[in-house]
């Protein structure tokens, strides 16, 4: 299909974008001491070089009372300007416009970092921060407005082409707009016109300082997805007011609020693509301003369709460009197949934000590290190409192969199965997680491009290494399920044969075909990630009665980090999955599972038809040990070093491959 709209230019006030792809605002945690860094500059520049039409930076705080997380850029200090210049210069070199998002988080914050009371329209505590904010006085409102103006001035001085006001998911402006958080009775509360007063005051003040040289945009939330929050009808009304102000050049959109319904803003793969498109579509019907649609756009054709069907004028592709900075350029060149498709896994981008770490990507080791790569990129080719053998075509092995081949080595991957992917294949084989498997497709594409040979159906043993005589071996043999100590010996206790690992369910190797409709199943979750929950869903779909027991405080603890928890709860309750916590498995014998409730010390028992184990696996390390003792030049990566997750596998592989 030919693209008709995606590559056409668009005018946003004084600024022209060369295409319709926007790298919309997102936190990066790259800031240090409240200042932008070289890491920011290189990160944004990479997306500019990769063909993005417009870049919008992460938020800059407009006032000292706003400091909800450590690594926030304090836009209200003049010290930020040199850092701004560094960013804008780097991006402008690629002739891409860049806007700054400015914001005050309002009551969606805590005093932890600032040690100042947080400000909000009314003293309504945010459900996540659980801190009662101070209702702002009129003088303080004026101070807020002035803060926006000051920061806008800094941005203009720092070379930005435009300003975006984040009034959408975590903002004092949203706080005023939303009936859920605005309980005021003065002229800033009550009717929508009153609730929107602050927004319009800020718009006017910012336009006042930036004049007509810079573009001004407003990002609005189309449905807060909280009780009594604002919904699409109000968002449409607000857009009309915004347009009528005559000061605004475009409207960006978003869904959910950052503290209560964050999982809908940065939707994981469980939420269908295009889920938030109804918002720009409704707004666009009401206003003539260009509107940005955002939310799980990962394919250029999908973006083109949204434009062609008139739902938006620009498309925000955030994680799509976190995963592949060249998203736009590759699509434009017709090389759609070469795009490193984002998995919507949230593991290393969104996931790291909550952990106060800099932003990365599970499948792109360079993300967030652009400032280090920029220097060494072109000189990457090796002077002495070596023959490299990689054992295992899981994520670790494939990444090692890619990195080595990129350096100019001759690489062959040996995989004992007939397909690539290792555990990722199983991880992606459960309901709604197929996109996780794109990781392997992406890696295989890159291997093909770099000329990596892959020998399937070839298990490696020391003899093969002696025969092939590679210069270097990278072992990436992964991890295998292990039986925990508390399960009786199946040779002695026949009932123990009905205790199986999740992988046996997924690969169909469980005895008797595994749990069938009507069977009762206890899934033991000691890993705290998708392993237990997704298999539980699979079995519930199959008609089993499923309970998950975990020693943790919640089932699938780390789902919180990837924003999968809320959805999991909704689905689990719909599928009748029982979640039992604080239970440590103590034994399984004669069909009986004993669980210790550790806060009370009381034992509980279950007699399920099946026990399914999501428990720590053990590394497959024999090959590495054998080769090492034979004196072969060998290294190991991924789960066979210590079983972790896919990102660790990729990072290991990249490091090993690029250092040959």
């Amino acid at each position: 299909m030919a693209y008709k709209y995606l590559w056409t230019p668009l005018q946003l006030g004084p600024v022209a974008t060369r295409n319709r792809i926007v790298f919309s605002a997102h936190l990066t945690n790259f800031a240090r001491e409240g200042l932008p860094t070289e890491q920011h500059a290189a990160y944004y520049a990479a997306r500019a070089a990769g063909g993005a039409g417009l870049i919008i930076t992460e938020e800059h705080s407009t006032h000292p009372t706003d400091w909800p997380y450590e690594k926030l850029i304090h836009g209200f200090h003049r010290d930020v300007i040199p850092g701004y210049k560094r960013i804008t210069d780097a991006v402008h070199r690629h002739r891409v416009p860049i806007f700054a998002q400015i914001n005050h988080n309002g009551g969606q914050a805590s005093s932890m970092f600032s040690r100042l009371p947080v400000w909000a329209p009314s003293p309504v505590a945010d459900p996540l921060f659980r801190e009662v904010p101070k209702a702002v006085t009129h003088a303080e409102i004026d101070e807020i407005v002035a803060g926006y103006a000051t920061v806008a001035e800094h941005c203009a001085e720092g070379g930005f082409d435009g300003i975006e006001l984040q009034c959408s998911h975590s903002s004092i402006v949203r706080g005023f707009l939303s009936p859920a958080t605005n309980k005021r009775t003065d002229e800033y509360g009550g009717s929508l016109a009153n609730r929107a007063r602050l927004l319009l005051e800020i718009v006017a003040a910012v336009r006042g300082v930036i004049g007509n040289r810079l573009a001004l945009g407003v990002r609005l939330c189309g449905d807060e997805l909280i009780e009594n929050g604002s919904t699409i009808e109000e968002a449409v009304e607000v857009s009309r007011l915004v347009e009528a102000s005559g000061h605004v050049d475009y409207i960006n959109t978003s869904i959910g609020v950052a503290t209560a319904s964050l999982f809908m803003i940065e939707a994981s793969m469980h939420i269908p693509p295009g889920y938030a498109l109804f918002i720009p579509s409704a707004i666009r019907k009401a206003v003539d301003l260009p509107v940005v649609g955002v939310g799980r756009f990962k394919d250029p054709l999908q973006a083109e369709r949204a434009l062609a069907e008139g739902h938006c004028d620009l498309v925000g592709v955030v994680r799509g460009q976190i995963a592949d900075p060249d998203f736009a350029a590759k699509a434009r060149a017709g090389a759609t197949d070469e795009i490193r498709l984002c998995l919507s896994c949230n593991q290393e981008c969104v996931g790291r934000m909550g952990l106060n770490r800099w932003l990365g990507c599970i499948e792109n080791p360079r993300t967030g590290r652009e400032h280090e790569w920029a220097v060494t990129d072109h000189v990457a080719l090796t002077a002495k190409p070596k023959d490299v053998m990689v054992v295992g075509a899981g994520p670790a092995g494939l990444q090692a192969a890619i990195a080595a081949a990129r350096r100019g080595h001759r690489v062959t991957v040996y995989e004992k199965e007939n397909v690539a992917g290792g555990q990722v294949r199983w991880a992606a084989s459960v309901p709604n997680r197929a996109e996780f498997g794109d990781m392997i497709r992406n890696q295989l594409n890159e291997c093909r491009r770099l000329g990596v040979a892959i020998e399937f159906g070839t298990g490696v043993w020391p003899g093969l290494v002696e025969e092939k005589r590679p210069d270097h071996v990278i072992v990436a043999t992964g991890a295998e399920p292990q039986r925990p100590w508390w399960v009786s010996d199946p040779d002695a206790d026949e009932s123990a044969r009905r205790v199986v690992d999740v992988r046996a369910i997924l690969d169909g190797s469980a005895p008797l075909g595994g749990p069938q409709s009507g069977d009762s199943v206890v899934v033991v979750d000691e890993i705290g990630f998708h392993h237990a929950t997704s298999v539980a869903e699979l079995l519930a779909d199959r008609g089993c009665a499923v309970e998950i027991a975990t020693p943790g405080m919640v089932v699938g603890q780390d789902l919180g980090i990837t924003l999968d928890m809320e959805n999991w709860w909704i689905r689990a309750s719909a599928k009748g999955i029982v979640q039992s916590t604080d239970l440590v498995p103590m034994g399984f014998a004669n069909g009986e599972l004993t669980l210790l409730h550790h806060p009370t010390g009381a034992n509980q028992t279950r007699r399920p038809d099946w026990v399914v184990l999501a428990v720590p696996p053990s590394p497959v390390e024999w090959l590495y040990n054998d080769l090492k003792s034979l004196g072969v030049s060998v290294e190991r990566v991924g789960d066979c070093v210590a079983p972790r997750r896919a990102h660790a596998a990729v990072v290991d592989g990249e490091r090993a491959g690029s250092s040959i």
């Binding site: 060369r18 500019a48 070089a49 070199r93 690629h94 002739r95 891409v96 434009r332 060149a333 990129d377 072109h378 000189v379 080719l381 000329g451």
Partner: protein, 438 residues
């Protein structure tokens, strides 16, 4: 002998490229009935090249041509760049005099330039037929060429002389038996990208203004495939391309797109094109081996000109063909017209064409540079010299006090060893190069 006035035309010119249009102008000016046949919907529609023409030859055919020719920029800087993996050495010459009439070289788009040139032919009285492909030669019993066959119904046309200007790999010259067997190593593949940037950005980056332009030829930087590259400035686009030796390209299993991408990422090139948008990508075969592969130029009733006669010089440091095409076309047109007038269109009667070529720069340049293509495209020059030359220069220029600098000669010796170049080869190549370029 056929009667000339019974023919459809005196002269048929096949191909309205630079060679064909000039041939048509020359023959029509001499009063002959000329039909110019072109397969594209308009002349130049499908023709590609790097982007620089040296049209001074037009002084004779189209006086004050610079006033009407569709030119992008006038070349005032020519430079040759030698690239290693990370380094670059440039020899740069600039003359603002080239930016004034009568001018020297210019950048131009072929669809514009070729179409303009064909209009000069029509103005001179030639009849232009487009969307028509010549599919064969008509010959009389003696084997003499007496016309052409086209892909149109009722499509045979007769003429006293056929001038084949059908470009590289000329199928007419082959059909007439003028080529010996072709060897793929005599051809290179040209790949080019047109990159868009605003005019003022180009002006700044290349240090030019108004309608001034730059012509950069590149040696090295082609990912180990033998060949060269070029960068030319148009008004608001940059033409960047590589010229790759066909057998090497095949042997190394590299895709031309990748090679051009690597060249674009080279530290010496990347800043020139940063932020540019790719507007066009095209590829075309070029005859490369120069004088040593030229066909016989003349046979009974037919002459060959331009690329069809392999009159193209594309050896990394030069990429010229249009000027040779125009000059040879002009000579062919004049010779054909004269032969028709004398009523002797046999090979002998057309022989003055070759004499003319010999008397002009066309064949002189080609003879002088006879061995240059071989040299420039040799593995030695391609794969070892760039690294060698740039590291010598790098070490001479490097300021790493307080150590005393080794003398230039020692540096050269050390670097030569490192690059694995034998002294005898260096001397021999130096000599060939001097003879060619000097």
């Amino acid at each position: 002998m056929n009667r000339p006035d019974a023919n459809d035309a005196d002269v048929i010119v096949v191909g309205a490229g630079p060679a064909g249009s000039c041939a048509a102008i020359a023959a029509a000016r001499a009063g002959r009935r000329v039909i110019l046949i072109e397969r594209g919907p308009f002349p130049g529609s499908k023709n590609m090249y790097g982007g620089v023409v040296y049209p001074r030859i037009l002084d004779e055919l189209v006086p004050r041509w610079w006033e009407t020719a569709p030119v992008q920029r006038w070349v005032v800087r020519r430079s040759t760049m030698i690239l290693s993996e990370t380094g670059a050495l440039s020899v740069d010459y600039r003359s603002n005099a080239w930016g004034q009439p009568p001018y020297n070289g210019a950048t131009a788009y072929r669809p514009d330039f070729d179409e303009w040139l064909s209009r000069q032919a029509v103005a001179a009285g030639a009849q232009l037929v487009t969307s028509t492909t010549v599919t064969g030669l008509l010959r009389d019993a003696s084997g003499r060429v007496v016309g052409v066959r086209t892909d149109r119904p009722d499509g045979d046309l007769t003429a006293s002389v056929v001038i084949a200007c059908d470009g590289v790999n000329s199928f007419l010259a082959k059909e007439a038996g003028l080529y010996s067997a072709t060897d793929p190593s005599n051809f290179t593949l040209g790949v080019k990208e047109t990159l868009a940037l605003p005019k003022h950005v180009i002006d700044e980056r290349f240090g030019v203004r108004d309608d001034q332009g730059v012509d950069i030829e590149i040696l090295g930087g082609t990912s180990g495939v033998n060949g060269g590259g070029f960068v030319y400035t148009n008004l608001d686009t940059i033409a960047l391309g590589v010229v790759l030796k066909l057998p090497k390209l095949a042997a190394q299993k590299k895709r031309p797109e990748e090679i051009i991408a690597t060249l674009k990422a080279h530290p010496a090139i990347a800043p020139l094109i940063e932020g540019a948008e790719v507007k066009e990508y095209s590829a075309h075969v070029i005859p490369e081996a120069g004088y040593s592969m030229m066909p016989t130029m003349v046979t009974d009733g037919m002459v060959v000109a331009g690329d069809a006669a392999a009159l193209c010089l594309a050896a990394g440091i030069w990429l010229e063909g249009v000027n040779f095409a125009m000059a040879s076309g002009m000579c062919a047109g004049e010779a054909a017209a004269a032969a028709v007038a004398r009523n002797d269109v046999s090979a002998k009667g057309l022989a003055p064409y070759t004499d003319k070529l010999n008397a002009t720069f066309v064949l002189r340049d080609h003879k002088k540079l006879r061995k240059v293509p071989g040299l420039v495209l040799s593995d030695r020059v391609q794969q070892r010299y760039p690294a060698f030359v740039t590291s010598v220069v790098e070490r001479v220029f490097r300021v790493d006090n307080p150590q005393p600098k080794p003398g230039l000669r020692r540096i050269v010796r050390q670097e030569r060893k490192r690059a694995g170049i034998k002294l005898s080869e260096l001397i021999r190549d130096g000599w060939t190069g001097l003879r060619g370029f000097g």
